[in-house]
Every structure is written in structure tokens, then in C-alpha cells.
């Protein structure tokens, strides 16, 4: 987290963080994530919330070593730009055993994972991250 951990902030964003709720504009039809107060493309306030697909393909990816405070034990952190078909999102990638498996167009799926702990309060914060889809042989 770049912002300080906040229980109310995570509670408020639960539909977005855990159900992957995006917004579809009833005026121009475009989908964005997470929902803003008006459509970023046409300005319409007529938005409906939709659950986004939980599988997508990597457009771009990175292995991060310049890790912010509070997450250094998780180094390195993998992060990707993901095409979900109806929209694109950026998310942390997880279960990457070796960075050389990261490839453009690799299939990834959402999974619930820890992002940070609040050491003083002992709280653990979870988010959706994306992991490689295992190929059935």
C-alpha cells in the first residue's frame, strides 16, 4: 500500500477489491476499473457495476526490487498489465516461481492473497492478485 493501512478504506472497497467490480458506462458502453464517479471516457454519470472476468492475458509485466516500506519481506514483487477482454487492469502477480515464465499473452487468473499486515493492530489485509493459469496436459 502506498497509503497507510485503513480498516474503513478496505471495508469500503470490498466489492471492488474482492469481487473485482468494475463499472460499465450506459452511455458510451466502455468499462473501467475500479469504478470512478463518472465515466472517464465520456463523463456520463450513468454507470452500472459489473463483475469483471477473473481471467485475462498479460500485456506487460515487471519484477520490482525497489519495494516500499511494509512489503520488503515480499521482495521481489511482480506486477502486470492485464487484458480482461472488456477492459484492462493493473494488478500484482503472484505464485511466480521464476520470473522467466512471465511472457506476453500468458494467461492469468485472480486469486485472494495477503498484501500487508498492520504490525501494531495485528490485522492482515488481503487483495486479489493474479497467478498464472496452470496448463492442463
Amino acid at each position: 500500500m502506498s497509503m497507510d493501512l485503513s480498516i474503513s478504506r478496505f471495508w469500503r472497497k470490498k466489492e471492488i477489491i474482492y469481487k473485482l467490480n468494475g463499472a460499465k458506462c450506459k452511455s458510451c458502453g466502455k468499462v473501467h476499473y475500479p469504478p470512478k464517479n463518472a465515466c472517464p471516457y465520456c463523463g456520463s454519470r450513468d454507470l452500472e457495476y459489473i463483475e469483471l472476468p477473473r481471467k485475462g492475458k498479460l500485456i506487460s509485466y515487471t519484477t520490482i526490487y525497489a519495494i516500499p516500506e511494509g512489503a520488503r519481506s515480499q521482495s521481489p514483487i511482480y506486477f502486470g498489465l492485464i487484458d480482461l477482454g472488456i477492459t484492462k487492469i493493473t494488478a500484482e502477480l503472484t505464485d511466480i516461481t521464476d520470473p522467466s515464465i512471465l511472457k506476453k499473452d500468458m494467461e492469468v487468473e485472480a486469486t485472494l492473497r495477503k498484501t500487508q499486515e498492520d504490525r501494531d493492530a495485528g490485522l492482515i489485509y488481503y487483495v486479489l492478485k493474479f497467478r498464472p493459469v496452470l496448463v492442463q496436459k
Binding site: M1, P34, I59, T62, I64, P68, I77, L81, T90
Partner: protein, 380 residues
């Protein structure tokens, strides 16, 4: 309308452990004030800083700075626009002058990025990016730019080696600039071999964490006595600022809008030099292409041929050394760019001087273009 630059000041960008934010601001501000003939007639102090509240643990910092500078009673405002704060502050100052709310304005940009350990600063710098999408993850300050750099290299088939000419050019320019934090030369092949921050971005693709301050005295035509330069126009816009929202992340939409707007009010052709916001090598490439100074996917190659080098065919890019090598004390950076460009058009820049430089374009962004500012600085 045109406003005049009557005095300038800046500190070398460095790890100034022995100076506070106000000490640095005072060094730059006193220089600018003394050059402009003293404190008489200063109507406003605009203070530009983006992390002052966190790094200096201070709110209403403009007012406390006014007191510390001996300017108690002056009107004072903080301007914060992330990395674009400096040009945003200049833009506000220009508006005050144009509307005759003020005749003389002191703009001070100051920032300290070395008060805390780097992992804490990475966390603070993550706030430059859209908190709606990025705040639940631990991606630091280089994660999103790294996605953009890989996308750029994949889309246009540009190799790592070609990208590395930009940092080398910045260091080569900074070597001559006594105010630059990293005033030493590097060879392009060093860039890929340096520490990886967020693959493919390395330490040498990025800016150093530095402390610094820059200041200018701006005034209206009516009161300007011996200006060194003029700011003919400044424009801005807002944009997506996130690569997943944009259909075309390889151009900065906000910069494209701001540039179109400034082109409508001023003649931005035949620019002698540019000072652009190269927070990362990739940011510089996309700025050059968004401004139309290079074709899409061709900026890195043009840089490698010397097109943007001093004496090259194109406008000379970042004679200061840019964010890359002069340094990037966030909120102060835009003010540095204005100071350097004003000195360049008056033939007084202490680093690489262009002969006969008349016009310079200054570009500042926050993050990946949540906001963009463009200013035209010309000789008087």
C-alpha cells in the same frame, strides 16, 4: 500575456543532511530576491512542494516559509500537483500577474527526499500514481513506468541498448552543470548493467533522490525593471494518468492537450531547446513522441544519433541534465526548469550554453500524465 523573470536562484541538488527544507528554500529565494532588487513590492509567495507535509511534517508550509524568509504579511499559497507542482506554481503566479491581483510574485519550489530511508520514500512516491488502482499493491514508484517501458519496447521493437542513450546524454549534459546532483559522465552500456529497480527500469533509467530548492521572481510588464527572460505562455491539461485506462498509453493524453492549447496561443515552432520531464527513460521517449519531436517508436533511435544533443539537428534536450542527472526534487523540479531556461535564453546558464538560444519549451508531468504543463520561455 507575457510575464517577466526578474530574479532566479537555485541550490545544487544533493543529499543536504545539514540543511532543512526552509534553509534550502531560503538560499534559492534570497538569491532570486536580491537579483530582482529586494523584497519591496512582492505581493505573493507561491510555495511549490509535494511531499513537504510528510517529509517536513508541516502543513500551511507557504505561510511558515514566508515568516522564515522575513516576508511576514505577504500573501502566501501552497501549490501541490505532485511532480508537476513547480510548473503548476508558475502557472498560478502567471495568472495572478495577468489578472493584476499581483505585480510581483516570488515562486519557491523546495523538496527534501532524504529525510527518511529510501523504502519509506518509495512508499511516499507511490502516491504520485492513481490511488484508486494502485494503492492496495506494493509497487513503489517505478512499477507502472516499468510496464510502460516494456510495452513500448515490445510494440516498437526497440532494444535495451538504444534506450540507454538517453541517460548517457543526460549525464553528459549534467557533467557541465554545477547545480546537478549527478555531474559525471556514463557510457550507455552502464545503464543496463546498473541495479534493477523494476525490470526493465534500472537505477540509471531513473532519477536520484535529492534535496533542492529553486526560486524565481516574476513580474508584470509595468513593474519589470531588468528582466532576464520572459514566460510567453503556459498551458496545462489533465489526463488518464494510468496505463490501463488509456487506449493509447504510448502517448500522454494530457500533454497532447496541453501542447495543442499552447500552440493555439503562442508560436512554439523553431524551439532552440527543451527541458522535459524525464522521470524515467521511457517518460522522456513518450514526451518527445507526444510533442511530435520524434516519430512514434523512433525517439530512442533519434537520441542515439545525437539529434537532441547540444549542436544536434533537433532542439537540444535537457541541457541541465534533466530529472535523470540534474536531479528531481519533485515539487522544485518545474521551478528549476524555468530557472535554467531563463538563464539559457539570457546566455547566463552555468552549464552547456547554446549559442543564440532564443526559445525554450519546458514540459512537466505528474506520474504518467495525470497532469501536464507546458511553458514557453523566451529571450527578452
Amino acid at each position: 500575456m507575457v510575464v517577466y523573470v526578474e530574479g532566479v536562484g537555485m541550490t545544487k541538488i544533493d543529499r543536504h543532511y545539514d540543511f532543512s527544507l526552509k534553509d534550502l528554500a531560503a538560499k534559492a529565494a534570497f538569491n532570486a530576491i536580491d537579483q530582482a532588487g529586494g523584497t519591496d513590492g512582492i505581493d505573493y509567495l507561491i510555495f511549490s512542494s509535494s511531499l513537504a507535509s510528510l517529509q517536513d511534517s508541516q502543513l500551511d508550509s507557504a505561510s511558515y516559509l514566508a515568516l522564515s524568509l522575513g516576508l511576514k504579511g505577504v500573501r502566501a499559497l501552497n501549490v501541490e500537483a505532485g511532480e508537476a507542482s513547480g510548473l503548476a506554481a508558475i502557472s498560478v503566479a502567471k495568472s495572478l500577474l495577468e489578472s493584476h491581483q499581483a505585480d510581483k510574485v516570488l515562486v519557491v519550489g523546495a523538496e527534501k527526499l532524504n529525510e527518511f530511508v529510501s523504502s519509506k520514500v518509495y512508499k511516499q512516491l507511490q502516491m504520485l500514481y492513481d490511488g484508486d488502482t494502485k494503492s492496495f499493491y506494493n509497487i513503489g514508484f517505478a512499477g507502472e513506468a516499468a510496464l510502460l517501458m516494456r510495452l513500448y519496447m515490445d510494440t516498437y521493437n526497440v532494444d535495451r541498448e538504444t534506450m540507454s542513450y538517453w541517460p548517457a546524454l543526460m549525464h553528459s549534459n549534467a557533467k557541465e552543470n554545477p547545480y546537478a546532483m549527478l555531474n559525471f559522465a556514463i557510457k550507455p552500456d552502464k545503464v543496463a548493467k546498473s541495479q534493477i529497480l523494476a525490470d526493465p527500469i534500472t537505477l540509471l533509467d531513473s532519477y536520484p533522490l535529492g534535496d533542492g530548492a529553486a526560486a524565481v521572481i516574476l513580474s508584470n510588464k509595468d513593474v519589470a525593471k531588468s528582466p532576464i527572460a520572459k514566460i510567453s505562455a503556459i498551458e496545462s491539461s489533465t489526463g488518464y494518468g494510468s496505463i490501463e485506462l488509456s487506449d493509447d498509453p504510448l502517448q500522454f493524453d494530457s500533454l497532447s492537450d496541453a501542447y495543442r492549447r499552447i500552440s493555439n496561443i503562442a508560436d512554439v515552432s523553431n524551439i532552440d531547446f527543451i527541458e522535459i520531464h524525464d522521470s524515467f527513460t521511457i517518460t522522456a521517449m513518450i514526451i518527445l513522441e507526444t510533442l511530435g519531436l520524434a516519430n512514434r517508436g523512433k525517439a530512442a533511435e533519434l537520441v542515439s544519433t545525437g539529434y537532441f544533443s547540444p549542436g544536434g539537428k533537433g532542439p537540444a534536450a535537457n541541457l541541465s541534465g534533466g530529472l535523470k542527472a540534474r536531479g528531481h526534487p519533485l515539487g522544485a523540479t518545474g521551478v528549476y526548469q524555468i530557472v535554467e531556461s531563463s538563464l539559457q535564453v539570457s546566455g547566463k546558464f552555468p552549464g552547456i550554453k547554446l549559442s543564440n538560444a532564443k526559445k525554450g519549451l519546458v514540459v512537466s508531468l505528474n506520474g504518467l500524465g495525470s497532469s501536464a504543463y507546458v511553458a514557453l520561455v523566451e529571450e527578452v
